[in-house]
């Protein structure tokens, strides 16, 4: 007989339930109403009543309806077959739901997240029988796409265990017994290929967490060169609406140099997810030549789906990311948008009638955000591999003002800040990352000093630009004007990148280094122009040459020719000066 309780009050997606025996914090319960079972979670316990958030529409629920407690926290299923899937915030597979229930998302229906009928070819680790093992060590693997998907000693196992039984190589379903482990007190643990893990608890089966140092190449020049991200690091992208946050995240999810991408579409437009869903299967992963979808997991809890599940979705995504990290892979989690997650917290907090903090966000907003980003990291696994989980979150600040609680709480904990600006977006300068405002604590893979000098050019160029707005072009000295043109040039040919052009959309680190050095050699020279017209003409010419160059494939004839043209143009300019 399962424990149960009775509903005593309903307000929005929050219910109050009276219970007799015991319940635990964050326990899952099911509201039984109108032949449906609505999943919900305990979020506050007060004497003999609990407050629970319901993950579905609460329409039609009555006082007196029964709630069955499950004794478990919200958890996800971890096993082979997660890659390529599209889940909602509670790991309900959306494709399967569509097959079974049609166009609309049904209420109170849960399907299995990992197909229990599919067979996988399991290969045990050699000579593992009788060996001592501990949590997070592999017992064998199955092939999932291009990856070795390890089957682990359960992450929750304590101390040393002995492998007493192990299945021989062959095809198994995920719930078939793969191994039996014995612990020191003589208990036996049965291991299958699928395991449950509570989403709000980080997987900690690793021996050491490193400082993030290795660059994670996004192939966005402005990010990799100026505001880099490191494997196992964290970054955030705040920006007002229309500044291109989602497009930037989509480009990174396509081109970033990682093994697995987990996309958490949290409270955003369904249309944008659809683009990913329909296009990723057709796009090729440049590293493997296989479909991009095979390295992607989409967690999709769009804005019209229930709010409480939105809160769970970021944790679900983080847990799936950590799971693939445990296999020694580099995983990138992109959360779009963390503000919607924070708003979900605010809604729930409001229903609980908690004392509100700034802008009515709960007082624990900051610690929740910190906890989430802390799940990132590069770790030493309990076998001879390292794995990393990198987390990038977009922030949608109200009114585009970064001085608001979610942005500020996020900035305190992330390693890089890619602030998007509406001005740059309006001027169609994409990606609209503001080079004067953004920062990164990670090492650029390029020459540090040169990058710093280039940043100085941008700052000075902006100062001249501001001044010119007051005194006009006539009142600006030719030297200042040159700095302004250099900044504009750097911006146009290097910081801006055309996401719609197949070549320009992604620039690898080798090409970045090469192009940056060439640009730097121009920034570093002080030209002596006779007048501003001449200066402007030269930089405009250079700009169009470089943009053409950016659009051509490296190593092609056209690429070589354009480079020659650029070099000739530059040396002719220098000669002219020497002649003068």
């Amino acid at each position: 007989m399962k424990k149960s309780g009775k509903i005593t009050a309903i307000s929005g997606n929050m219910i109050t339930v009276e219970f007799a025996e015991s319940v635990s914090q964050n326990e899952v319960g099911y509201v039984v109403a109108n032949q449906q079972r609505l999943k919900s979670e305990v979020i506050r316990i007060n004497q003999n009543t609990v407050s629970m958030q319901v993950f579905e529409d609460t329409k039609g629920i009555k006082v007196g309806d029964k709630v069955e407690f499950s004794g478990e926290m919200i958890s996800v299923e971890l096993g082979p077959g997660l890659l390529g899937q599209v889940y909602d915030g509670l790991q309900n597979p959306l494709h399967d739901l569509a097959k079974e229930f049609g166009v609309f998302l049904p209420r109170g229906k849960q399907l299995e997240a990992v197909d229990s009928k599919k067979k996988w070819h399991f290969r045990p680790k050699e000579n593992i029988k009788g060996k001592k093992v501990s949590a997070g060590q592999p017992l064998g693997y199955v092939e999932e796409g291009i990856f070795k998907h390890f089957i682990f000693v359960p992450f929750s196992a304590k101390g040393d265990l002995t492998v007493e039984e192990i299945s021989s190589e062959g095809d198994y379903k995920v719930k078939d017994k793969i191994a039996v482990l014995g612990n020191q007190s003589g208990n036996k643990i049965k291991v299958t290929m699928v395991a449950n893990w509570p989403v709000k608890v980080p997987i900690s089966a690793y021996t050491q967490k490193f400082t993030p140092q290795e660059s994670l190449v996004t192939k966005m020049r402005i990010l990799d060169t100026f505001f880099p991200v490191a494997k196992g690091g964290t970054y955030c992208i705040p920006g007002p609406f229309g500044s291109g946050k989602t497009v930037l995240q989509q480009l990174i999810s396509r081109y970033a140099d990682v093994d697995v991408v987990v996309l958490a579409a949290c409270g955003e437009r369904a249309g944008e997810v659809v683009e990913t869903l329909k296009e990723f299967p057709k796009l090729k992963d440049p590293r493997t030549g296989r479909s991009l979808m095979e390295r992607t997991i989409v967690i999709c809890n769009t804005s019209s789906m229930p709010v409480a599940a939105r809160d769970a979705s970021v944790y679900t995504a983080a847990t799936l990311g950590e799971y693939y990290r445990q296999m020694g892979l580099n995983v990138l989690l992109l959360a779009d948008s963390t503000s919607r997650w924070a708003q979900a917290m605010r809604e729930i907090s409001g229903r609980l009638e908690e004392i509100p903090g700034e802008e009515a966000y709960p007082a624990y907003l900051e610690s929740r955000i910190a906890e989430f980003y802390e799940r990132a990291g590069q770790v030493q696994l309990p076998f001879d591999k390292k794995g990393s989980l990198t987390i990038g979150g977009t922030v949608s600040p109200a009114g585009g003002n970064f001085d608001e609680p979610v942005t500020q709480s996020t900035l305190k904990v992330v390693g890089a800040f890619h602030g998007l600006s509406r001005d740059r977006a309006n001027a169609r300068k994409y990606p609209s990352v503001d080079p004067l405002q953004s920062w990164s604590r990670y090492q650029t893979p390029l020459d540090k000093n040169k990058v710093q000098k280039a940043k100085d050019v941008l700052t000075k160029g902006d100062e001249v630009d501001q001044m010119m707005k007051v005194v006009g072009e006539e009142g600006t000295s030719i030297d200042d004007y040159q700095v302004y043109l250099k900044a504009e040039f750097l911006d146009a040919v290097y910081l801006q990148q055309n996401g719609f052009n197949p070549v320009d959309a992604a620039t690898g680190i080798k090409r970045q280094t090469y192009v940056f050095d060439k640009i730097f050699s121009i920034l570093d020279v002080k030209f002596s122009f006779s007048d501003k017209d001449q200066a402007r003409k030269m930089f405009y010419k250079l700009r169009s040459l470089f943009i053409d160059w950016n659009y051509t494939e490296q190593g092609s004839d056209k690429y070589e020719n354009l480079e020659k043209e650029i070099d000739q143009f530059l040396s002719s300019q220098k000669q002219k000066e020497e002649g003068e």
């Binding site: 005593t8 307000s11 039609g60 708003q343 006009g472």
Partner: protein
């Protein structure tokens, strides 16, 4: 026989509280007072205390008036008979026709499974150059018109509606002024579209709460028609009034406000409505055009701000025309490469030149000397405003593109523009270049 409750415990704002058992969340009730009958909806249940929002407002309700719970949530009748009819915010007829009670459907139903959506790729032609050329509208798009009060936003909505060739038009008026309602009606009648239109109208003189149901009613009916393979256009004017009604109820219910008094769930509430815009994989579509008036022309006000994060772009209506900057259709890339090969080039090129004109205009007003290039830009800017931006211009996309080339050739030499040479060869008007 339904039980009659005749003791109202409290009346605060438009929310009444009664003691009742066996009531379900969001159930409807009928309140009978000396002023007549009104529908009310359960918005909170706490033990046996039930709070209801009364659609007709609480004015004149007495503590011993009758409350009868109906046992079902808000529904609306759905049939072909609705066409050409006008209903109010409770779904009752507003015209003199009979009330419809058959074939009722639930409102505010479940969300469409994202995997069942398709990537939209059909353009809606409006014959307004600022839309067709620069920010093409796409079937299944959700797009608000941001403007201050007093701009001709309803005129623009009506024009798009008539031009759009949708199978069905559903107009939702929230706090609509009576003359604006008549305006819509007359316009659609003149355009011969009344017989494929349904109106749900809440006017400014009706109780505020009644406006809350309008978007849900419109979208529920639209969804049914869309599932029957119709392309439905939903017009909502004005969503700021809807947000204000939400605010009023939230404050009455003593919810903690988040920003300028609006409830913390404003984003979710708006998204729940706008996200109904959809193109089904194997049925029709819903396109949502709305008006969001910006108090004080402030785009950072919570209503336009939250709306902007939800919708797929926005049109700014300023000084009687659609502003070229800030206005954005996020879906235009899906369609504007399939129209004519110069479409994208004209779209980008003309806007860039107009941006330069704005800079020059600023310099001129500050008294800087005008170069010959500046003078060209000034001429261009004026032509652009009169031939492209003016809402009176009513021409198909192709004609608008041709006009664009004409304006360019009237003002500039081909090499002064940044157009690709093959386009100039093909489209630059002869004899001038």
């Amino acid at each position: 026989m339904r039980k009659v409750h005749s003791k109202i415990l409290s009346i605060i704002g438009n929310v009444i509280t009664v003691k009742a058992k066996d009531v379900s969340y969001q159930e409807l009730a009928e309140v009978r007072s000396s002023r007549g009958k009104s529908l009310a909806q359960v918005i909170k249940v706490d033990g046996d205390l039930v709070s209801l929002q009364v659609f007709a407002g609480s004015r004149g309700i007495s503590t011993n008036d009758q409350v009868i719970f109906l046992g079902y949530p808000m529904k609306v009748s759905f049939s072909e008979d609705m066409l050409g009819r006008v209903f109010d915010g409770s779904g009752r007829p507003r015209d003199k026709g009979p009330s419809l009670t058959e074939n009722t459907i639930e409102i505010s139903g479940p969300t469409v499974n994202p995997v069942k959506r398709t990537i939209p790729e059909r353009m809606i032609r409006t014959n307004i150059p600022m839309i067709d050329v620069f920010n093409s509208l796409v079937v299944s798009q959700k797009l608000p018109i941001f403007s201050i009060s007093g701009e001709p936003y309803n005129e623009l909505l009506a024009r798009i509606a008539l031009q759009a060739e949708a199978d069905m038009i559903i107009l939702g008026g929230i706090g609509l002024k009576h003359d604006q309602y008549l305006f819509f009606k007359n316009k659609l009648e003149e355009g011969g579209a009344l017989s494929r239109s349904v109106f749900f109208v809440h006017t400014a003189s009706d109780p505020v709460v009644e406006g809350l149901m309008i978007p849900d009613l419109c979208l529920a009916v639209a969804e049914k028609f869309a599932l029957e393979n119709k392309d439905v256009l939903v017009l909502l004017s004005d969503m700021t009034n809807f947000a204000d009604a939400l605010k009023e109820i939230a404050i009455t219910m003593e919810q903690v406000p988040s920003n300028r008094g609006y409830p913390g769930d404003l984003y979710s509430q708006l998204a729940k409505r706008y996200e109904k815009a959809v193109e089904f994989e194997d049925a029709g579509s819903i396109t949502v055009l709305s008006v969001t008036t910006m108090p004080g022309d402030d785009v950072t006000h919570p209503v336009p701000d939250n709306t902007g994060y939800i919708t797929e772009g926005q049109f700014y209506l300023r000084g009687g025309s659609i502003a070229p900057f800030g206005s954005l259709s996020r879906l235009k890339q899906q369609v504007n490469d399939k129209t004519r090969k110069d479409h994208r080039a004209i779209m980008d090129g003309m806007i860039q030149l107009y941006a330069q004109y704005r800079d020059t205009e600023e310099k001129r007003s500050m008294g800087f000397r005008m170069s010959s290039w500046d003078k060209k830009l000034l001429k261009y800017g004026k032509l652009f405003e009169s031939e492209m931006m003016d809402l009176a211009v009513n021409i198909p996309l192709e004609k608008a593109l041709d006009n664009g080339w004409q304006i360019l050739s009237d003002c500039f030499e081909p090499e002064e523009t940044s157009f690709r040479s093959d386009l100039i060869k093909e489209f630059w008007p002869n004899g001038k270049s």
